[in-house]
Symmetry: C2
Subunit: 484 residues, 2 copies
């Protein structure tokens, strides 16, 4: 369908302000948080009602126009990268908190509602929404569902999939699905989990019902410094194997510590190789008891610095450093590439050693920040896109890290999704019959492959090409960087 005709058809049911077609209006949508990839969509639509979303999707279905749905666009794997021949469907106008039920402890919200806005609205009932991605001030709950987002508290409270109860979803054919319920279990296949993390490939979310949790009576944080990353890793193992489930258990290495400290003056020690932040929450007595136990465990693990936040202000300061780690590291170089992979906890020291070796090999510094409790790594590779070859080296370095995650028995994503960023590594993670199953599942929802095509699941053809890279040493996409 010609763009002019598509525009005409859209104008039949969308008001003028809900359609963007001028170059300058399209520019803000050219990428999501993975800014290394950019392209302009054909058009942007901003529907306000479910009926409008249904009409948009029915039109796209009838005319075979690809559609990319987008929330706040904070995703880090390019899941909301638009297509030049497709419509970008922004859910920004779906921004209403529809209902909070303090007794059932649920909130029913539209997908464009900001993650943190849910907790703010629930606060007057003493409740909050647990998953807390670093971007929680601006990221939207619909995007959180699409990417199955996590956060520093997901060790104890789970990822998005563990914290939602129901969805309203519109299929590419314009059919409304009501998925899940406020009950624990639902009959039929688990479409709720299938939708969560499906990166906009199966349907467009128009409503999310989330679980709310009672705010813990008390939260307290311990900060421990170690003279080696191995010792910090061993301390994590000690805490977990003691049967303690911290609300958060985060590790930062020397470069990340220094960057964060310079940036927000969190009070971190600068003479250590790694720090751990361990937060405990719950009822007062429980927290006091666990703080004592963790303190002892950290001492036994050889912590050279060990501090308990003296008050809530200091607790927040300790976390401010961690939460600002990405932008802080960002100040050390013109560009950085934030990786996201998961490994079995016990392989941490070995993986860090290998990442360090890669860093030397590729000639690019790396700062490491981890959700250590659940083995989710966020290495931040520093580079300068204006220096010839640095971007490709950074990408190759990142690919090596993801493949290392698979090699040690982990996965190529912890909480950021696959998008366009990690699509080649899907070939490493999965066998061809597994990828075929993913494609068959996709077809069950979207026969013509119109919803977010080209993301998350590679074609076998693409894998064959990428696979060849591994088989035939030297014939890489990045001929300047020999693979090893």
């Amino acid at each position: 369908m010609k763009p002019e005709l598509l525009l005409k058809r859209l104008r039949e049911f969308l008001p003028p302000e809900s359609i963007l077609s001028e170059r300058e209006d399209l520019n803000p949508y050219e990428s999501d948080g993975l800014t290394a990839f950019k392209q302009l969509p054909l058009l942007v639509v901003l529907p306000e009602t479910e009926a409008q979303v249904q009409q948009v999707l029915r039109l796209c279905h009838a005319e075979a126009v690809p559609v990319v749905a987008r929330g706040a666009g904070t995703g880090l794997s390019g899941g909301a990268l638009p297509l030049t021949n497709g419509i970008l469907l922004s859910l920004a106008k779906f921004s209403r908190i529809e209902h909070i039920d303090p007794l059932a402890r649920t909130a029913r919200v539209q997908p464009g509602v900001r993650n943190l806005a849910i907790s703010e609205a629930a606060a007057k009932h003493g409740l909050y929404y647990a998953p807390d991605p670093s971007s929680q001030i601006i990221c939207s709950i619909g995007g959180n569902v699409a990417e199955n987002s996590g956060g520093v508290h997901c060790l104890k409270y789970g990822l998005t999939v563990n914290n939602i109860l129901a969805l309203r979803v519109i299929t590419i054919e314009g059919e409304m699905l009501e998925i899940g319920s406020t009950a624990l279990d639902s009959a039929g296949y688990d479409l709720l989990a299938l939708m969560t993390g499906s990166e906009g490939m199966l349907g467009v979310i128009t409503e999310v019902t989330v679980k709310l949790l009672p705010k813990p009576e008390r939260a307290q944080v311990l900060m421990a410094g170690f003279d080696s990353v191995e010792k910090a890793g061993a301390a994590v193992a000690k805490i977990i194997s003691a049967g303690i489930i911290p609300a958060g258990l985060e590790m930062m290495d020397k470069l990340a510590i220094r960057a964060a400290e310079d940036f927000v003056h969190a009070g971190y020690p600068l003479d250590v190789e790694a720090i751990l932040l361990c937060e405990l929450d719950g009822v007062n007595e429980e927290v006091s008891e666990e703080i004592k136990r963790v303190h002892t465990l950290l001492q036994e693990a050889g912590a050279t610095t060990l501090r308990t936040a003296q008050d809530d202000a200091e607790r927040l300061k300790f976390w401010a450093g961690r939460k600002a780690a990405f932008p802080a590291v960002g100040r050390l170089a013109p560009d950085y590439y934030c990786m996201d992979g998961t490994i079995p906890r016990k392989r941490l020291p070995e993986v860090l050693k290998r990442i360090h070796e890669y860093s030397v090999h590729y000639g690019l510094p790396v700062a490491n920040v981890f959700h250590a409790g659940d083995g989710n790594l966020h290495p931040l590779i520093l580079y300068d896109a204006n220096k010839s070859g640095e971007l490709v080296r950074a990408e190759a370095f990142g690919a090596k890290i993801l493949e290392l995650c698979v090699e040690v028995g982990g996965t190529i994503t912890g909480e950021h999704g696959v998008g366009v960023e990690k699509i080649d590594q899907m070939c490493v993670q999965f066998m061809s019959h597994e990828l075929n199953l993913f494609h068959a599942l996709k077809k069950a929802w979207d026969e013509q492959t119109l919803l977010n095509p080209g993301k998350a699941v590679p074609t076998l053809h693409r894998c064959a090409e990428y696979g060849a890279m591994h088989v035939h040493q030297g014939k890489t996409k990045f001929p300047d960087v020999p693979r090893f």
Copy 2:
């Protein structure tokens, strides 16, 4: 394929003792725990290795022979009911606990391992597997995954889907899938959740990796009696809205109390209309604190009897009554039909009133046992299959209860699955385009519909027939029972 030829082909790769074909050997497999439905399979196979399972499935795929997989056969919705023209594939010989990792707190087990055996094996590390269906002594973990089983502790610890990390699954084409990992998140669609509760329709599970939890330092139980079911229901609401998440929160009505007390002498009061059992677990101080709070809340809610178990022996006695409620009620009548549906907690009093009205209407007594904390009802309908019309009345009564669950915003299954039992109620729960999506998902895994055909998801044709029953009053499947 002729049965003789099928037998011959199976004997090419299975030892003689792994194939049952004589009538007397097939008899034990004629039903699962839903004994109202019985039929003999063509053959039973009991493979011992994944390679054998692959060969069985490849043969069935090539020759279009239906296959029903079965664990311990304790399911209550007929999910493992064999097909007269199909193979029953028992996983009984997959009974090895392969690995327990106390540090990662995981157990890798074969699907035929009994639920309780996992906790027994993990006990020496101070760990256990949380989901505890009533049948946990004999039910197998593979069946738990297939039905997404719950138990009295799932309010706090979740259903099976929340307690497993990875699966090995063989497709009908004989392909091995490795699904999930020990990481929190996996790339690609959430096949782990999709498989869980899929009732043997998508693939055959050959290995399960479960999460283990540290045994709580202390567990304590409160037992409260109320002079009305409404008051007991209100007490549940009070506890939950106070932000307390009990390890278990169970309700029994008068008939269930009396039956249990006569059977196991649990120490329940007989002069009340309902009792609540509320278990709290965690570290010592936390439990003491919460017991105090719950005690106060139960008093405020008007409990006429209120006791805290004085020691672990009394705690176990309180639970023994609840856990024996099904067989205890079974002593009151020759047969009983155990229902399983879920409702929003706040609708409990109204739903109980309606169930009581149905009981009068159908002339069949009902005892009510609930996982009250999560709104999962288990009404037990008493009947005598030898009295003409009682079975059909019991089934009609059960159907009414399930449809009531949907009407008030709940679902037709809490933890027992759909199987053959609730397949008609799926038509009430879902719209036709939603059922079509389920069928399309099934086809993505099993194009020829060979795995457990006829279970869990009704055809639209079947729904049209069942729907007609509702539209045209009087024209029911059960002409002796007018619907209302």
